[in-house]
Structure formats: C-alpha cells, structure tokens
C-alpha cells in the first residue's frame, strides 16, 4: 500500500476542484464586466436621449416620435442581472452595486418618458413593479412572470422593476412619491395610478392595465427576457 498514491489522488482531485472554482469565478467576473459594459452603454444611450430631448424640445413632437428614446437594452440588462443574482447570490456586493446602477438607469428612463409624455401628449403604457428579495416572495416571482409574458405579447409595454429594499436614495424618493407600502409586496403601479398589492393572475393584470388594448400585440414569439 503506497500512501503516496493516496496523497497524489487527493492532490489531483483537489486541483480539479480548484480549477472548477477558478473557471467559475472567471466566468462570474466576465459576467459582471459584461453587465457593467451594458450599463455604461445604456447610460450613454439615456444621456444621448436626454440631450436629444433638449435639442428637440422646441421642435415638432412628430420628430421625437420618429426617434425612439427608450433603450431596449434595459430589458437585456434585467435578464443579465437575474443570472448574476442566481450565480453570485442576491447579497453579493457586486450584484447589489450593479442593481443600484440598473435602478438609477430605470428611474432616468422613467423620468425621460414622463417628460416626453408631457411635452408631446403621447400615451405610453408603463408599469412600476416593486418586489423584495429579503423574504421568500413567490407572489413577486409570479407577478414578474405575468409582466414578462405581457411584455412579450405587447412590446410597447414598459416595465420598470425595483427591489424595494435596495439602499438607494433615488429609489426611496420614488417609493415615497408613490406611497408604496413595503409590507404588502409585490406592488404594481400602472401609469401613475394608485399602487396595487399582492398576487396577480394574467386576467387580473390585464384588467388592471386596460390600456393594453391600445398597444399592438406582438406578432412574433415572445422572448424570455425576464423581468426581475
């Protein structure tokens, strides 16, 4: 019996585990970098849109209508953040930092949408969706699933999702402005109406958003870009 063989087998096995850990970490870091790049890109998009709005502010609104201002990349970012949360955990500092940036971008996008609506009298359909990660919230997941499905069916529907417990002053202000109660999450706010709390089925959600009828339904298969 050779103890060297036992030891060598242990070293090789440990090395394989170490390699697995290293590769996983590298891929997670690459994911973080990817999300950061997407956020930077969205940030520039929104800044560009804000500038564009100011430039076009005195012009005909039909010109604005021809220039889409809301970045679809926010949707991609949402699903990427979901993956990062699943891999690194919701309490990971990097993930929290990225979520804060994401939430800020959403708020800026939301404000820009309000400005265009006021200026041009457009009738967008948008939902503010508040969820929590602090407790297991199956209803939050289900509401997110319904919203994801609806966004696939109606590409014109804008959904802004927010982690209620995120420590971000701009988000706190938004929560205060809309008087969202964190005890009854999930909460949704449709087109700046009163918050609605609790689980929602597809039918009840469609009743809460009658404006959906004004949006053209998608003709293609929905994508699985998930709302967080």
């Amino acid at each position: 019996m050779t103890w060297q063989r036992y030891f060598l087998a242990f070293v090789i096995t440990a090395a394989i585990f170490g390699t697995a850990f290293y590769i996983t970490s590298r891929l997670d870091n690459a994911r973080i970098a990817n999300i950061r790049t997407t956020e930077d890109s969205i940030s520039i998009d929104i800044l560009s849109s804000e500038t564009q709005f100011e430039l076009l502010g005195n012009l005909d609104c039909s010109t604005i209508a021809q220039n889409p201002v809301l970045s679809d990349e926010l949707n991609t970012l949402a699903s990427q953040l979901s993956v990062a949360e699943a891999n690194l955990g919701v309490t990971n500092p990097e993930v929290i930092q990225l979520k804060k940036q994401y939430s800020l971008l959403e708020i800026k996008d939301y404000i820009l949408l309000q400005n265009i609506t006021n200026k041009c009298g457009t009738k967008p359909v948008y939902v503010l969706y508040f969820y929590t990660n602090n407790v297991a919230c199956d209803d939050c997941t289900r509401v997110a699933d319904v919203l994801t499905y609806l966004r696939g069916e109606y590409p014109g529907l804008r959904v802004y999702s927010f982690d209620y417990d995120l420590d971000l002053s701009a988000l706190k202000t938004l929560i205060t402005l809309h008087k969202v109660n964190g005890q009854n999450l999930p909460a949704i706010i449709v087109n700046n109406r009163e918050p609605v709390y609790g689980p929602q089925s597809l039918d009840s959600m469609q009743k809460l958003i009658p404006e959906l009828k004004s949006l053209a339904a998608a003709t293609t298969t929905s994508t699985s870009t998930k709302i967080r």
Binding site: I16, F17, S224
Partner: protein
C-alpha cells in the same frame, strides 16, 4: 444557501477521488496483453455448476465448459442440481451420460452455497471452480486463469473478466456498459490487491482456501462476496485474470434487475456489518482502507444524491404547476438566449461533467482490457447514462431498507 448541495459536492469529491485513484493505478501498472503462451503445468480442476431451475441455459453452459482448451483428464465438470423443479435434472443426467467428463448430482434444495459446498466436499482436485448455469466461458479462459496462478504462487483465487452475453435490449446494453466498467475497476482492484468479490461465473480457487478458512457460508445470499471478505481477513490473495473471458446472461426486465442488485447491495451492507473490523484497518491493505470505505460511501452517496435530485425535481414541477394555476399564463414558447452569459457555469455542472468523463475513460479502458470491439456502442452508452441513474437508486433504497430491518434478501 443550498446546504443540500454541499453534500452533493462531497459526493462528487469522493467519486472523483476514486476515479483519479484508479486511473493513477492504471498508469502505474497497465494490464498485460494476451499472449499465446501456455501454462507449464495443468493442475486438476473440478468445475462446479450449481443450478436451480436452469433448464434453458444449463446445456449451453456445460457445452462451453466441454469446449475449454484444457486436458480432458484434468478437467471434471460437476453439475449439482439444488432441487430444481423444472427439467434441469433430466438435462443434467443426459449430459452426464453423454460426456465422460460430466458428473451429475441431485440434492435437496438448500441454497447455492450448499450446492457449492457439496461439490467441494465430493471432489478432490487441486483447483475448484464455479460457473453459474447461466454463464458461458471462452475456450481459452481456463488457460488464462492457470497462467495467472502460475505468475504468482501466493494467489489463492482468481476472478475472470465478465461480459454480458449477447446484449440486445436497452437494459442489457446498460448492463453491458456497466460490466465493461467493472472489468476496468476489477483489474485496478487487482493492482491494489483489493478485489472485493469472487463472482459465481468462473471464479477459481485453490483447494487450500477451503481447507484453511472453511467452506462457503449462507452470508446473506452473497456467499461469493463473503468468501472474498474472509480471504482478505485471513491474508489470502485474490487476483484477476483480465484475459479470461466469461459471458453471463443478465436480467432483462427492470424488476428482475432490481431484485438481483438489491440482493448484492444488501449482502454488501450485511457482510460489512459482519466484517466491520476491516474498515479503515491498515492491516487489510487497500481493501480495508480504500475499497470497503469507498463502497460504503458510494452506497450512501447514491441514496443522498437521488434524494437530493428527486427533492429538487419534485420542487421544480410543483412550483411550475402552482405558478401555472396562480398566474393562468397560457403555455407559450419562449426562445432561449443563445449566449454563454446565460449558460449554467456553476461549479456543479463542471464537476459532474468531469466525473462523467472519468467514468467514460474507465469504460473505454475496460473495453480495451476486455478486447471488446462490438458491445459498447453509442446506443449502449446512451442506455447506461440515461437509465442507470434512475434504476440504481431503487435497489439502493431497497437494500438499505432490507438491511435496516435485518430482512433476508430474496435470491429471485
């Protein structure tokens, strides 16, 4: 945090460690190639064929023994009918009348070990072999065994390389892959002097084994395992003749397979209890420090992993059903993101793939050792990887349950 996953990581570590250990052992001492050399001496041998209701295969089994390339005056074939209720007795008597090498005996049913012991005590040959009546040997198998005995005078018993006889159904193909894997690890156990079983199909013993440590015991219906344990306990060496091929018929239905493996697994647990002093005991070499502990850990790791996987699978299905009822979202097709970003690149998939690669490597090395060119097809590999994980947990559970209740396993 998923604490259950920590247990799965531990199981993966143990599985990987064992595979690495065997692969190191393979690289250190690769199995020798088959040679045309002949033994310098042909000892006398009695090949015992214990049988119980084996009318379908007995004749073929005896024919394969008659076809062995071995001096006829040195080889006697002893059929011991253990109280069969079918035509086994008539077939055995006919074979004995037709062939001078064949002897037939009928006795009251008492279990396989009693038939074996009857044969041992009623013969006087230098070697005693056993061939289950549902197995068939290659013509040169006995010569290969004798050559292995000659290579080391300390060897007291030899196991062959077992292959599945004509695998056709998916379940048989699955077992063909499993047996090929077995050829590899048995050879590696031979390298480690830690073979843990002397299977019924064509294990050959020096007669001194029985004179020094006694005859076969009931041993929870796994007398072939217990004798191996007892030999290790008494410092008797067991080896593997990887060029001695024996073909065995395997269960062709799931239930028959589960019953067979429950008997083996439960026998392992109960024999482990009887020989628990050998665990982690350096006095018994790699058998005590590696093979026995690993086999026990593998047993419970199999159960743990199955429970974990079942728990998660049921949880997933339940959550999908309850989501469907709660949200009322109609079934719809969603396109997946074809991007590395969305792939599951956690540690567990990486490690599972590594363990599966190690298993594949062992299967292909087993195939090489066994000179198997046709048995291990892609279909067989698919059958193995698709079925084994679902069926094996069933016999592990049954064996654990039976052992916990100290209930006797069923032979058939």
């Amino acid at each position: 945090m998923d604490y259950g996953a920590l247990g799965v990581y531990l199981c993966l570590f143990v599985a990987l460690y064992f595979e690495v250990f065997l692969l190191i052992s393979y690289l250190e001492r690769k199995p020798s190639l088959k040679t045309a050399g002949r033994p310098s001496y042909y000892p006398s041998i009695a090949m015992l064929v214990p049988c119980f209701n084996e009318e379908k295969t007995l004749e073929h089994t005896v024919e394969s023994l008659l076809a062995l390339e071995y001096p006829k005056e040195k080889l006697s074939i002893v059929i011991i009918d253990d109280g069969s209720k079918d035509a086994t007795r008539a077939i055995g008597e006919r074979l004995a009348s037709e062939h001078g090498q064949v002897q037939f005996f009928h006795k009251e049913n008492g279990g396989k070990y009693t038939a074996m012991n009857w044969g041992i005590t009623h013969t006087e040959s230098e070697l005693v072999g056993c061939l289950d009546a549902d197995s068939f040997v290659a013509a040169d198998a006995l010569v290969e065994v004798i050559k292995r005995f000659e290579s080391d005078k300390a060897i007291m018993a030899i196991t062959p390389a077992m292959k599945v006889y004509r695998p056709r159904k998916m379940l048989e193909l699955m077992q063909a892959v499993e047996y090929t894997f077995g050829i590899f690890y048995k050879k590696m156990f031979d390298n480690l002097a830690a073979l843990n079983v002397l299977p019924g199909p064509f294990s050959i013993y020096r007669r001194e084994v029985f004179t020094s440590i006694g005859l076969f015991k009931h041993a929870h219906n796994t007398e072939d395992m217990e004798i191996a344990f007892r030999m290790h306990a008494n410092g008797l060496k067991i080896a593997n003749a990887h060029n001695a091929f024996v073909y065995t018929t395997v269960p062709s239905t799931v239930w028959a397979l589960i019953k067979q493996r429950t008997r083996w697994s439960q026998g392992f647990l109960q024999n482990s209890q009887d020989y628990k002093y050998m665990y982690f005991n350096r006095r018994f070499g790699n058998f005590g420090t590696l093979v026995l502990p690993f086999a026990l850990v593998a047993f419970f790791a199999g159960i743990y992993t199955a429970v974990y996987a079942l728990f998660h699978a049921l949880g997933f299905v339940w959550s999908k059903i309850s989501d469907l009822f709660a949200t009322r979202i109609p079934p719809h097709i969603t396109t997946s993101h074809l991007n590395w970003f969305y792939a599951d690149t956690g540690m567990m998939p990486f490690l599972i793939i590594t363990v599966l690669c190690g298993t594949l490597a062992a299967i292909f090395l087993g195939q090489r050792i066994a000179l198997n060119k046709q048995d291990i097809t892609l279909k067989a590999l698919v059958a193995y990887f698709a079925l084994f994980g679902f069926i094996a947990p069933v016999w592990l559970f049954r064996a654990a349950w039976g052992a916990a209740l100290a209930r006797e396993s069923k032979w058939r």
